[in-house]
């Protein structure tokens, strides 16, 4: 009985060792997948914030360009403020803010 158990026991021990090995590998794979997902999400959120800032900047620059260009060449460009958010703030203050950014 003991003799018979040995090869079986050995096999079973070997099998358990293999399974542990496989388990380690698969858990590492899962960790990698998790890391990739969270990296993806955080990157996307940061890029979205960046996108927002860029869009806001672009709009301000457009407005300022239009205003400045009008000052320099009143006959070429015609401008009028239509964006309500701009109306609330003072015009001259905007230029200073943007330029000091």
């Amino acid at each position: 009985m003991a003799g018979q158990e040995d090869p079986v026991q050995r096999e079973i021990h070997q099998d358990w060792a293999n399974r542990e090995y496989i388990e380690v590998i698969t858990s590492s794979i899962k960790k990698i997948a998790d890391f990739l997902n969270s990296f993806d999400m955080s990157c996307r959120s940061r890029l979205a914030t960046l996108n927002e800032k860029l869009t806001a900047l672009e709009r301000r620059i457009e407005y300022i360009e239009a205003r400045v260009a009008y000052q320099l060449e009143p006959l070429c460009l015609d401008l009028e403020l239509t964006d309500s958010s701009w109306e609330s703030s003072g015009h001259s203050a905007d230029i200073d803010q943007v330029l000091t950014m």
Binding site: E11, I12, Q14, D15, N18, R19, I22, I25, T26, I29, I32, A33, L36, F39, D40, C43, R44, L47, L50, N51, L54, T55, L57, E58, R59, I61, E62, Y63, I64, E65, A66, V68, A69, Y70, Q71, L72, P74, D78, L79, E80, L81, T82, D83, I95, V98, L99
Partner: protein
């Protein structure tokens, strides 16, 4: 339900059936598991590559934007230093005269469209079973819709919403127009009360001439309508700001009496005619859709109508009846709005929407192109009899001896607007005042062609009056370019040679230039219309903005100009 975006492929490592005849099963399982692990690693690497690729693309686009922003800021800083506060000249006039500042930011639209599907999801989608191939039945359908649209239509809701929005804008516009009309009628009534007779007199003089001619042409049958029409023409004449098409009541009468444009003073005539040219181009879209979609009706032509620059024509059901050719039927009565709400049933909508497949261009260039190239086409005798609507004051005087419709000469007309010429002058031959040269020229596109046709037609009858001879004379040199020059050389000796050469050159050159210009413009306008159709189709922002503009705008002009601007 959250969709799994990316999947690592061999989900279960050892859920496979073991092959038979293996002694050491445990080892077998281990090996199988290890092999699956390797496959999982490969799909993981693909997963990672995809993630980083998307992130990289986004960051890359941001880098471009940041660089351009940087440049702009630099330029701005330079230009601001050049600013001198003393130079500022802010006067109230400047502020009011300025064009409104339009920011050019792009809004996100159509976020969940098929095109924006990420690649891994697209791959997952491709693995799925395809819908049944109902599109193979499409060529056998009568109404031209895609077979698959009845089974599954991803753009259904968007089309539904779009139709509703466009319909709402149209309704609001009509309401405003009606209100305006009512206001103007009230004003006119007040004016009439104040000065009962003065306003009537002024426009009358130009009316009478034309009406007389038309009376003679149409015969006694329609003379009885004059009593009705007079009253309304006076109203029209006294309401200068309103457009002709905004009067639904006068519409019906005008359509019946076919005096539609005759009563207008000249300036309005010319304006209408120029506008009508645009509409003529729009209208070619309509005749093809209404016939196929007759049952489901009016939805398809509506977008085309609405998206036209002026958006004033609403004669959809009429158009197939009145003419397959792009006849100048602009004053045709608008089909009453009631049919439109009734047609808003889901089935009709779906049917209409299915007819806007991926290239959502209204019935394609071929029909309008061929319609516009009508010159080459078909015998005008057919269209001649169709045109009910348009009567031109000038052609009658020039065309007294018109008897035979000569197809090749009518061919010279860019559009079959010469059609109305023929019914008219058959009745009248003499006794007309001399055709003033100015009348042929101002309404472009129609007059130059009509004198041409008139000239050619004037040839056969030998009895030539001195007055018409001068008019047809200049057109004689125009004929040689066109193939039907057979009649002309014969008639030339009949003309007074003295008047021919002097007037002919200037007039012929001018007429040819006008004709070419008009033809060119029409094609351009048609292309613009088509481009607008394509652009409008799926632009949520413009549709919404247009609707809001119509809702909150107080004046008609405002909404029309807004529409044009939004579409820029």
């Amino acid at each position: 339900m959250p969709l799994v975006k990316r999947n690592i492929d061999p989900r279960h490592l050892c859920h496979t059936a073991l092959p038979r005849g293996i002694k050491n099963e445990l080892e077998c399982v281990t090996n199988i598991s290890l092999a699956n692990i390797i496959r999982q690693l490969s799909s993981l690497s693909k997963y990672a590559e995809d993630i980083f690729g998307e992130l990289f693309n986004e960051a890359h686009s941001f880098s471009f934007r940041v660089n351009s922003l940087q440049e702009r800021v630099d330029r701005l800083s330079v230009s601001v230093t050049q600013l001198d506060p003393k130079e500022e000249e802010l006067s109230l006039q400047d502020i009011t005269m300025r064009k409104a500042f339009r920011s050019s930011t792009i809004q996100d639209q159509q976020l969940f469209d098929r095109k924006t599907l990420p690649i891994p999801l697209q791959e997952t989608y491709d693995v799925c079973e395809q819908p049944p191939p109902l599109n193979i039945l499409t060529p056998y359908r009568d109404d031209g819709k895609e077979g698959l649209k009845f089974y599954t239509n991803p753009s259904y809701f968007f089309d539904l919403w779009k139709e509703k929005m466009l319909q709402d804008t149209e309704d609001k516009r009509k309401e405003k127009r009606k209100q305006k009309v009512l206001q103007e009628i009230q004003k006119i009534e007040q004016k009439n009360l104040d000065r009962p007779h003065e306003p009537e007199k002024v426009p009358r003089a130009p009316h009478d001439r034309r009406r007389e001619w038309q009376k003679l042409a149409q015969g006694p049958e329609l003379a009885e309508d004059d009593a009705n029409l007079l009253h309304k023409h006076i109203e029209v004449a006294n309401g200068p700001a309103s457009h002709f098409e905004t009067r639904p009541q006068t519409y019906v009468d005008h359509m019946d009496g076919s005096y539609s444009l005759s009563a207008l003073p000249f300036s309005q005539m010319s304006e209408l005619l120029t506008r009508a040219e645009e509409r003529v181009l729009v209208r070619p879209h309509e005749p093809p859709p209404p016939p196929p979609m007759h049952a489901t009706g009016d939805m398809k032509p509506i977008p085309t109508c609405i998206s036209s620059a002026t958006g004033l024509i609403e004669n959809r059901p009429q158009s197939p009846a009145t003419g397959r050719t792009p006849v100048f039927v602009s004053p045709a009565p608008p089909p009453p709005p009631p049919p439109l709400p009734s047609a808003l049933s889901t089935s009709s909508l779906r049917a209409s929407m299915t007819s806007t497949p991926p290239p959502p261009v209204p019935p394609p260039p071929p029909p309008p192109a061929t319609a516009l190239q009508a010159p080459a086409v078909p015998p005008p005798p057919a269209p001649l009899q169709i045109a009910p609507g348009v009567l031109h004051p000038a052609p009658p005087p020039i065309a007294p001896p018109l008897v035979q419709p000569s197809p090749p000469i009518a061919r010279a007309a860019p559009v079959c607007e010469t059609v109305p010429v023929h019914p008219l002058p058959q009745g009248e031959v003499q006794g007309l005042p001399p055709p003033p040269p100015p009348p042929p020229l101002p309404p472009p596109g129609i007059r130059p062609s009509s004198p041409v046709t008139v000239a050619a037609l004037a040839h056969p009858p030998s009895g030539l009056h001195p007055t018409p001879s001068t008019a047809p004379g200049p057109h004689v040199p125009l004929m040689p370019p066109s193939p039907p020059s057979q009649v002309i050389p014969a008639s030339e000796p009949k003309r007074h040679p003295s008047t021919l050469p002097v007037i002919s050159d200037a007039r012929s050159v001018l007429l040819e230039a006008i004709r070419k210009g008009i033809q060119l413009r029409k094609v351009e306008e048609q292309r613009e219309q088509e481009a607008k159709h394509e652009r409008i189709e799926n632009d949520v922002a413009t549709i919404l903005s247009r609707r809001i503009a119509v809702e909150y705008s107080d004046s008609e002009d405002d909404s029309e100009f807004d529409e044009v601007d939004w579409l820029e």
